[in-house]
């Protein structure tokens, strides 16, 4: 029954393979033992997750669905459904916050921002030359655009109308170096003046010496100077090499349309005729 005729030479030839097998088994055992440490196990988690996604994350490969494009459509539908779920949460939170804010404003008797009325226009031309960064919108005075109107898109503040025609408006983008927008941090409340940088990010100047922005917080218009309404989204602040820079949110949503809303109008205070103030005895006026 036992195998006969084994030569010593064969045994010697196979010995390296036995050694290799032993090394492999030892390495596998060492790998298993090493994973008893949570730090080492967590090191392999991304790999496992990725491979697991590839192996078991899909619903199987359907050639017909792939050819007809149904796979892509279904993937898009799943993405949109996920987005709708996220947005539903945000909507619920927004409704809740709006109700609270309404109550607070009522308690404080606060004058809120007037509702925006604006003109939506298509961006008909963009100027990305060496001079001022501007865009041209196909709505002007005839459509109700006002001088100095503030331009917005889905992402937030785009710029300000600097040239108004009958049927067109030229908008100076906030990414331009010559643009100046008073802004503030949404959370920190730190005020600064924003202007466009040469690298596509916004630069901040005239910041207070002691206060700092919070990394990643949203930057909103502060309405100082009266050129822009308060609270328009400008972007997010990032610390780049020790400097605070702003990633413009309008750049993420370039749908080709802008809404131009009138600039805020702050009524000048009425002049009241000065009347002599008669001092009362209780104030202890020197005679």
């Amino acid at each position: 029954m036992a195998r006969l005729g084994r030569s010593g030479q064969k045994t010697r030839k196979r010995s390296p393979k036995r050694l290799i097998l032993g090394v492999f088994i030892f390495a596998a055992a060492a790998l298993v033992l090493a994973q008893s440490a949570p730090q080492i196990r967590s090191f392999f988690d991304p790999v496992r997750t990725t491979v697991g996604d590839q192996l078991g994350g899909s619903d199987g490969f359907d050639v017909l669905a792939w050819v007809t494009g149904q796979t892509a459509r279904e993937r898009r539908i799943r993405e949109l459904e996920a987005e709708v779920r996220d947005l539903s949460r945000y909507r619920a939170a927004a409704i809740s916050m709006a109700e609270r804010m309404e109550a607070y404003e009522e308690i404080l008797n606060l004058m809120g921002e007037p509702p925006a009325r604006g003109v939506t226009a298509r961006v008909s031309a963009e100027n990305d030359g060496p001079f001022a960064q501007t865009i041209l919108a196909n709505a002007g005075r005839a459509q109700g655009v006002e001088p100095g109107a503030v331009a917005l898109n889905e992402g937030g503040l785009v710029g300000r109308v600097i040239q108004l025609g009958e049927h067109s408006s030229r908008i100076l983008l906030i990414t331009d170096f010559n643009s100046r927008v008073p802004v503030m941090g949404e959370v920190s409340g730190v005020r600064a003046i924003l202007f466009g940088g040469r690298d596509g990010l916004g630069s901040l100047t005239d910041m207070p010496e002691r206060d700092e922005f919070i990394e990643g917080e949203r930057i909103l218009t502060s309405a100082e100077g009266g050129a822009f309404p308060r609270g328009l989204i400008v972007g997010e602040v990032r610390n780049v090499g020790g400097d605070w820079r702003v990633e413009f949110s309008m750049a993420d949503r370039e749908g080709g349309y802008v809404q131009m809303v009138p600039p805020p109008v702050i009524a000048e205070p009425e002049t009241v005729e000065a009347q002599p103030i008669s001092a009362s005895p209780a104030q202890g006026v020197r005679q």
Partner: protein, 182 residues
């Protein structure tokens, strides 16, 4: 007298070399393994899916040790670790131990020509592999894991191997080197 008797025609598989056989066996293992990721129920009955890599470990080990089967078994073992959510290396150990044991039995006995050994050795090897797997799993999980699903898979693995063991025969005599196949 000329040889007028008709020669027995050799099958395509018998003329195939060890490398194509190894690749085909690996393809079968991968296919069965991938099919195992899909739902395995027919008419409400759950099927115990075989551990296909063990077929390769037992079959390829019958001709002695070689590096390429080892690498394939390591690869299959790692994939099994991921799919079964086991710590990486568990199934590698099982596959390689089974492969080494198969080679050792083939080195000690004539597994090709002795019917009793030819039947008993796979039974022992599969049982040993599942025992090692159960021990590793129980040790790592800190409690004795369920043995019934493993037994069911052991049966499925053994029965299918008995039917299709030729697929995992590399076509060499045990101990025969590469290029010496007859």
């Amino acid at each position: 007298m000329p040889a007028s008797s008709p020669r027995k025609k050799k099958s395509l598989w018998s003329q195939t070399g060890p490398t194509p056989r190894l690749l085909f066996g690996a393809f079968v293992i991968a296919t069965i393994g991938l099919l195992g990721l899909t739902p395995k129920e027919f008419f409400g009955l759950s099927i115990a899916w075989p551990y296909a890599a063990l077929w390769g470990a037992v079959g390829w080990g019958r001709v002695g040790l070689s590096v390429r089967p080892m690498l394939l078994l390591i690869m299959f073992g790692l994939i099994q670790d991921v799919t079964f959510h086991a710590p990486l290396g568990c199934f590698v150990i099982v596959n390689l131990v089974c492969y080494g044991a198969s080679a050792m039995i083939a080195d000690m006995f004539d597994v090709m020509n002795e019917p009793l050994i030819a039947i008993l050795s796979p039974v022992l090897l599969f049982s040993g592999a599942f025992l090692v797997l159960w021990l590793i799993a129980s040790t790592l999980e800190d409690h004795p894991v369920r043995a019934v699903p493993l037994m069911a898979s052991l049966l499925t693995t053994g029965i299918i191997y008995a039917v299709g063991q030729k697929i995992f025969d590399l076509g060499r005599a045990p101990g025969e080197g590469v290029g010496q196949a007859t």
